[in-house]
């Protein structure tokens, strides 16, 4: 069973009594999850560096006195691991009881964010609503932050630092930081200010990784009172050519929010502010449904596409006839895919015979 350590392909360990294979470099948690073990975690986001803070993922390793965090421990050949012993399950339950005791509430609206139900579902799984360990509460909400996107309801924060780490590791923005220490730990921004004054780009990644809903999607929460279950529809974000996968959240016929698709091949859970939050134009009452052209009266009037395109072509032609071909200039939309952008520059170069072509993407 114990294999040579130099064989990086086919290594073996024993997991809850079963011989399992792994590749060198994998963590015990990764191996266990692949084997279908339901090890509880709260500080883990598979996209981030293992952190080892919540300690829920601890497992027993034979030959090591104390349990180890499976998320930070690399699988080793010959390792004998127990993921669910009685003492381990007791530690996990106790941690969850402690967490319940420090928070204002456990149950939150699923509209708060992608991972917002993680904490409550673990609390239920372990029957941790025992009312033990009563004491002071940690974290204080920043309801004074009136940015339109991100609710900072730190009364619910459990200091897992996923928001801090996703902002640093995934986004490279370092907008979120940690103030104080121990029980006084407070998630904050530079100089304890508002998100708007920080390096935040409002990509919403912190919201989507937060396991308690302490960071929440303000726009989605507007639909909290709307009746009906949340329905998810997988699609591709229409904003630019990257093609990020998203799940559109709807209640009945109403679009209420967006979740990034963690398995989206182009984005692996990432989104930008537009894809994440700027969805309300879709069902906005002022959204244009047909083209408009200006009439003799100087007002805009609804029309059909043929009429509108003829008017545009006539306008360009008049400009070129009057001022020469260099008087026109085209800017392709960043929302157009590469193919459309290609057609656009072709039209400008071959059709107008000029090189005045640009794209609005300046990211």
């Amino acid at each position: 069973m114990i294999m040579s350590t130099t064989d990086s392909q086919q290594q073996h360990m024993v997991l809850d009594g079963d011989d399992v294979g792994f590749t060198s470099g994998e963590t015990v948690l990764q191996v266990a999850e692949r084997e279908g073990k339901k090890i509880p975690t709260l500080c883990n986001d598979p996209r981030l560096e293992p952190f080892g803070g919540c300690r829920l993922c601890v497992v027993e390793v034979e030959g090591i006195a104390n349990p180890v965090a499976s998320c930070t421990t690399k699988a080793e050949p010959g390792m004998v691991v127990h993921t669910k012993t009685e003492p381990i399950e007791a530690y996990r339950k106790l941690l969850l009881e402690l967490l319940v005791s420090e928070n204002r509430e456990v149950d939150v609206d699923a509209l708060r964010g992608y991972a917002s139900q993680e904490f409550a579902s673990l609390v239920d799984r372990y029957g941790a609503r025992t009312g033990r360990f009563v004491g002071s509460k940690s974290g204080s909400s920043r309801l004074d932050d009136d940015n339109p996107f991100i609710l900072r309801d730190y009364d619910l924060c459990i200091s897992c630092y996923r928001c801090v780490r996703v902002c640093a590791e995934q986004e490279g923005d370092y907008a979120i930081s940690v103030m104080n220490r121990g029980f006084g730990t407070q998630i904050t921004t530079e100089f304890n200010g508002l998100l708007n004054d920080s390096a935040c780009t409002f990509c919403g990644q912190c919201v989507q990784t937060c396991p308690t809903g302490a960071l929440a999607d303000k726009k989605a929460l507007k639909a909290a009172e709307l009746p009906g279950a949340i329905h998810k529809t997988r699609t591709t974000c229409a904003y630019c050519g990257v093609g990020c996968s998203v799940d559109i959240l709807t209640k009945g016929e109403t679009m209420v929010g967006i979740h990034p698709a963690m398995d989206g091949p182009a984005n692996l859970g990432a989104l930008c502010v537009k894809g994440q939050f700027a969805f309300d134009f879709v069902q906005h009452e002022e959204r244009l449904q047909t083209p408009l052209v200006r009439g003799e009266d100087g007002e805009l009037h609804e029309t059909d596409w043929d009429t509108a395109l003829d008017r545009a072509a006539a306008g360009f032609k008049r400009a070129v006839d009057t001022y020469g071909r260099h008087s026109v200039y085209a800017v392709a939309s960043g929302r157009a895919p590469s193919e459309a952008a290609y057609i656009m520059q072709k039209f400008v170069r071959a059709g107008w015979g000029i090189n005045n072509i640009d794209n609005c993407s300046r990211a």
Partner: protein, 460 residues
């Protein structure tokens, strides 16, 4: 008020770059930290061997009694492996808390691939009741520098840091002056003593966090990162400062090395009693007639130190309890005071000697109140990385203060024991693992007092 590491003085106050001592705000004086007194039994010492000699903190004073002879010997006559052999054979183990064998640590760094390697002297001395590193650095700074240089020679490290706790402003000046003297004498810098060995030392100040004494946090702090402890493995010997092989050693550990290299492994081993190797500096404070730093042979009975060396409580009162490892080892009391000063003896009682801080409490002291102070310290200093310690230290503090928690004794004990057991088993670093030793030992030695406390909690 931050801790000035002067537990042996009445009331220390830090003002600007000075530590002032006194009992009245209008009558404060700047006093150098006390030179350790010689022990009354005339026991042979290692670290304090020459510390009382005049001008010891200057390079001339240091050289007068063989200072830098160890480094000279190593650079001119020994190869790095031989230096490591001497340190390993001496049985020297870490004096900063964990007691890891120093020679084994150096060997691991010497063997590790990756460069440049680094020597870090852990001078954060944050443990309540520990003020030994301060005495060593204030009065024998060159011993620390020579110890670092020997570690550097042995492991092939060209750079070193002294991570000094913020609250030792005068010590900073002393170290910087000593480093300059050593550089001018060609004992630090390039081509040390005319050899091919280069080594520079820089002092970095901490910012007032106990957790920065934990080696992973210390390294993160040195690198300018948030000082959460690092996940282990990997250990600093392979992935330390800037993820490169690094020795992290305590001040006392490093200050022992020059004596060991000069006098040999057998000499050091023989300093201990009962087959134990070497000596340990104990910082003794609290209800004791002669507080201060004492270098004891490992294996010395605690009672010999308390009564014969330090004069007992100095009153008609008896010793009710002592802390171990500063406060990290919890309390010893009753028959368990009958230990010898060494890890095997003290660990058998569920505690540990650690960095060697011992606080004495006579029978007038309220042990629940003292336990509360100690737990409040851990709660204040918990870094907040891991759940069991971040919340556990707070809940234990509240229960010891009587401000929250059950009023029924059985329920109270269940909560306190359950939290303690969990913290000990699965906290992410030594702080959270050690903190519950306070409640564990309190419950062991003072159950009646605890019952009384639980019954009489003042609660709105």
């Amino acid at each position: 008020m931050p801790c000035a590491g002067r537990c042996d003085e009445p009331i220390p106050v830090i003002r600007g770059d000075q530590v002032l001592i006194g009992t009245d705000a209008n009558d404060l004086e700047s006093r150098p930290s006390p030179v350790p007194s010689p022990n009354p039994q005339g026991r042979e010492e290692c670290v304090f061997r020459h510390i009382r000699e005049p001008d010891r903190s200057t390079i001339e004073g240091y050289r007068r009694t063989g200072g830098y002879d160890g480094l000279t010997l190593a650079v001119s006559e020994l190869n790095p492996a031989q230096v490591i052999d001497i340190v390993r054979d001496s049985g020297l183990a870490g004096r900063g808390g964990a007691g890891f064998p120093t020679g084994v640590k150096w060997q691991a760094v010497a063997d590790a691939s990756g460069a440049p390697k680094t020597i870090v002297c852990n001078a954060d001395e944050g443990e309540p009741g520990c003020f030994k590193d301060r005495a060593i650095m204030d009065h024998d700074p060159h011993a620390v520098i020579e110890g670092m240089a020997l570690a550097a020679y042995a492991t092939g490290a060209p750079r070193g840091f002294i991570y000094l706790r913020y609250e030792y402003p005068e010590t900073l000046g002393t170290l910087q002056r000593a480093i300059k003297e050593a550089e001018e004498a060609g004992l630090l810098g390039e081509r040390i003593l005319g050899s091919a060995f280069d080594f520079t030392v820089v002092v970095r100040r901490g910012a007032g966090a106990y957790i920065c004494g934990e080696e992973g946090s210390l390294l993160n702090s040195l690198e300018g990162r948030h000082p959460f402890p690092r996940n282990r493995p990997p250990f600093p010997v392979t992935h330390g400062y800037e993820d490169r092989p690094t020795v992290v050693n305590n001040v006392e550990t490093l200050a022992s090395v020059p004596h060991i290299v000069r006098r040999g492994a057998d000499w050091y081993r023989a300093l201990g009693l009962n087959d134990l190797a070497g000596t340990k500096v104990i910082s003794l404070s609290g209800d004791v007639k002669r507080p201060g730093n004492y270098e004891v042979p490992l294996g010395l009975p605690l009672s010999t130190l308390l009564y014969d060396w330090a004069g007992g409580t100095g009153s008609s009162r008896s010793v009710q309890a002592v802390t171990m490892a500063g406060v990290s080892g919890g309390f010893l009391a009753g028959e368990d005071l009958d230990v010898t000063l060494d890890e095997p003896s003290i660990r058998a009682k569920g505690s540990f000697l650690g960095a060697g801080g011992i606080m004495v409490f006579d029978d007038t002291r309220d042990m629940v109140e003292i336990a509360h102070f100690a737990m409040e310290f851990f709660a204040e200093e918990s870094c907040g990385k891991c759940f069991p310690c971040r919340i556990g230290t707070e809940r234990l503090t509240e229960r010891l203060a009587g401000t929250a928690g059950p009023t029924n004794l059985t329920a109270w004990l269940d909560e306190v024991n359950d939290i303690g057991r969990t913290m000990k088993a699965i906290s992410a670093c030594g702080l959270g693992m050690a903190a519950p030793l306070i409640t564990e030992s309190l419950l062991r030695y003072f159950p009646e007092r605890v019952a009384q406390h639980v019954a009489h909690q003042a609660r709105d």
